[in-house]
């Protein structure tokens, strides 16, 4: 069970030494941001991009109040995460349509990024929208690239236009004429993989752009790309002013920080992501998912969100006060269980909770059926009994058992468990720092 990722662990460590809650101070932020920077670099975010990003986030974070429902580490992660989403979004899966048909889409990118496969995936997508795409074989250099496009084109049910090893600029022009004549509304041009520093081949792309009216120029980038993604994206964008980016091979285990780098230097939307080898494996881009992936901590983030949804700030404050005064009642106990349920049940929560193991919660105590039973028992009590459990004598227990469809032993067990919880809360108040996360 992946309880929590190293970033949240390290941030927790920093804040355990530092914070008594309240507002985030500059020193805390600075120390935390060093960890965030390492996390971003480990995810392949470009160094310069990471530095700029962090400078901006730090400014925003200093002086921010720590939400009651979160701890300082979670608060920092939330700020970083929100900024990542803002920077990478909005995703825009829509392909522009030319006013004068056909719409021409040109693919470009380094060797092995996955352009040819992506052409077929786009064709499938376009056909789903009721369009008639024509694929154009513009990679005349790589051996058998034309054959490959023909095969994947056939799988996608799209016609492939090719002129052998004729100059790709000429081929592109002829393809567009052909499309106009034959009623294809969209032309997708596959091009050879090329290094961004290859002058001759970059010129070839510029010439295609001059000869035919290109609506979309999509830079295809391997999601596993490292620091160099910035150079690649910057050069392609300068030479061709690309209109969007497609990230491929995201079905691997890469954190995909290249995505952030590319967005930061080009400002162009990430339009699609490739998530598999089948020609239907194409998805729109979701900035929030990508942010979690880059931070390597999807679970903690969804916990933060769920905690925010399930517990309002006032509720959390009231609970804390009760804990402080040791006036925690069975009613509160019940509302805690309700909150748990909102957050996806105990087992889901346990899996996401940093430090849950340390609270000595027996997982079987929290199984869903048992929680239902606890709920029934507490609801069968009178309000007075819920506030003062000590008045529950054996005749009351029998009544409650009957009302909730349980046994007296179940009532005893719950009362014992409740006392233990109260004791645990007392200890937690004594022991510094650790708070209930909800």
């Amino acid at each position: 069970m992946a309880l929590f990722s190293s970033l949240s662990e390290r941030l927790n460590h920093i804040f355990s030494k530092l914070t008594k809650r309240g507002k985030l101070t500059e020193l805390e932020i600075r120390q935390a941001m060093r960890e965030v920077r390492i996390a971003l670099l480990e995810a392949d975010v470009n160094l310069k991009v990471a530095k700029n990003f962090i400078a901006e986030v730090s400014e925003k974070a200093v002086g921010q109040e720590v939400l009651t429902s979160l701890n300082p580490a979670q608060q920092v992660i939330k700020i970083v995460n929100d900024e990542l989403i803002a920077l990478m979004g909005p995703g825009n899966a829509k392909l522009e349509v030319a006013s004068k048909l056909p719409t021409v889409i040109m693919m470009c990118g380094l060797q092995g990024a996955g352009k040819t496969t992506m052409c077929a995936k786009l064709a499938v997508q376009l056909k789903k929208q009721g369009k008639r795409p024509l694929l154009v074989a513009g990679d005349i250099y790589r051996p058998a690239a034309i054959d490959q496009l023909k095969i994947v084109g056939a799988k996608a049910g799209a016609e492939v236009f090719e002129r052998g090893t004729q100059n790709p600029v000429k081929t592109a022009k002829e393809a567009v004429d052909y499309a106009r004549k034959m009623g294809f509304d969209t032309v997708v041009i596959d091009t050879a993989g090329r290094l961004h520093i290859d002058e001759r081949l970059m010129e070839e792309l510029e010439n295609i752009q001059k000869e035919v009216e290109v609506t979309e120029i999509l830079l295809t980038v391997d999601a596993m790309t490292g620091q160099d993604a910035v150079n690649v994206a910057e050069t392609f964008n300068q030479r061709l002013s690309i209109t969007g980016v497609i990230l491929t091979k995201l079905d691997g285990d890469t954190r995909g920080g290249a995505c952030l780098s590319i967005k930061a230097v080009t400002g162009k939307p990430i339009k699609f992501i490739g998530v598999g080898e089948k020609i239907t494996d194409l998805e729109p881009f979701y900035p929030d998912r990508m942010a979690s992936r880059i931070l390597g901590m999807g679970d903690v983030l969804s916990l933060i969100e769920k905690a925010q949804e399930a517990v309002t700030e006032q509720e959390a404050k009231a609970l804390e006060k009760k804990m402080r005064e040791n006036s925690f009642t069975l009613t509160d106990y019940l509302s805690q269980f309700e909150a748990l349920k909102k957050m996806g049940g105990a087992s889901a929560l346990l899996a996401m909770l940093p430090g849950a193991g340390k609270l000595k919660i027996n997982e079987s105590d929290l199984d869903e059926k048992k929680m239902e039973r606890i709920r029934a028992i507490i609801l069968s009590m009178t309000p007075k009994e819920r506030d003062n459990p000590q008045i529950i004598n054996s005749s009351r227990k029998r009544r409650i058992a009957l009302g909730s469809g349980t046994t007296v032993q179940d009532i005893n067990q719950l009362l014992k468990q409740f006392e233990q919880t109260k004791l645990m809360m007392k200890q937690m108040r004594g022991g510094k720092g650790r708070r209930l996360p909800f």
Binding site: D44, P143, A144, E277
Partner: protein, 298 residues
């Protein structure tokens, strides 16, 4: 085969290399914590693994403090030596004949092209070569390999697209044995290391060679794209666990990426880099040389 400094030249293309960044760093900072922190980041920005960058820099720091050195040239040389030592932690395998070389890796790293170049390398060294087209999955992969086999003027064993890759391997082994071929090169389909069924398919090919050709020296090479980032480590580790690796082929070094991840692969996983791809032509392949690589890298 002699060196023409292609690896170094390829790496030198980068405008902002480590040494210019270090120069700026020296101008800006005295040797101190801030200096070393930034040095670490410079290495990471060339795709050196984060843990390895930390280790290397702390070694530089220790030496520099111990020797009371503040001189830029000395620190630069020290860094080079430590990086070179890291590469040398994984010794180059000695190639013995007859041999089988299987090339594995994720999609799009350049396996097929690499095999064409390596075939040519052995032909020029007067060895007989046969290629097995065991990427039966990707559309037109067999045709692509066929073109390379023609260019290098070597034989190729191939089946239909979509057929069982292990069967191709079996036939190629039989053919190499029958003809007493020196070198059998096996192309495999690109596969992401996280896909268990595809990794199992690879293990099966591995077993077929082990079982059918025990007298051959069997080398398994992971092909890695120099533009890859920190994920290279994960790839190497998973492929190593699946089929054990004898070396790495580092491709696309003619771009602006430097493949800094190799330091972690040599230093931590002990997998040596054996060949480097430096262009698209048949002869654009070099035997890897640690010293030259570090010279170009810094």
């Amino acid at each position: 085969m002699g060196f023409f400094g292609k690896i170094k030249d390829a790496l030198r293309k980068t405008k902002e290399n480590v040494s210019t960044k270090m120069r700026q760093l020296f101008l800006k900072n005295k040797l101190g914590d801030a200096f070393y922190e930034e040095l670490e980041e410079i290495l990471i920005s060339s795709d050196v693994g984060v843990a390895t960058a930390e280790e290397v820099v702390s070694e530089v720091k220790e030496e520099a403090i111990g020797g009371k050195i503040k001189d830029e040239q000395f620190v630069t040389d020290l860094l080079k030596d430590i990086l070179e030592d890291t590469l040398n932690e994984a010794p180059m395998p000695a190639i013995k004949y007859p041999c089988v070389m299987m090339f594995v890796g994720v999609n799009g790293v350049g396996k097929t092209t690499t095999i064409g170049k390596i075939a040519n390398y052995f032909v020029r060294n007067k060895k007989s070569v046969v290629i097995a087209a065991a990427d039966t999955f990707r559309a037109a992969a067999i045709d692509q390999l066929n073109v390379w086999a023609d260019r290098a003027k070597v034989r190729i064993v191939k089946h239909e697209e979509g057929s069982d890759p292990s069967a191709v391997v079996y036939d190629a082994v039989s053919s190499a044995k029958a003809r007493g071929t020196d070198v059998l090169l096996i192309d495999t389909a690109g596969r992401l290391h996280v896909k268990e069924n595809l990794m199992n398919e690879l293990k099966k090919m591995d077993r077929v060679v082990e079982r059918e050709f025990p007298e051959a020296h069997f080398y398994k090479f992971l092909v890695l794209d120099a533009t890859t980032g920190q994920n290279a480590y994960s790839q190497a580790k998973v492929f190593k666990d699946a089929v054990s690796l004898d070396g790495i082929v580092l491709t696309k070094l003619d771009g602006t990426a430097k493949g800094g991840f190799v330091f972690s692969l040599c230093g931590e996983l002990h997998i040596p880099v054996v060949f480097a791809g430096v262009g698209e032509k048949l002869e654009d392949l070099e035997l890897f040389d640690a010293e030259q690589f570090v010279e170009g890298f810094i």
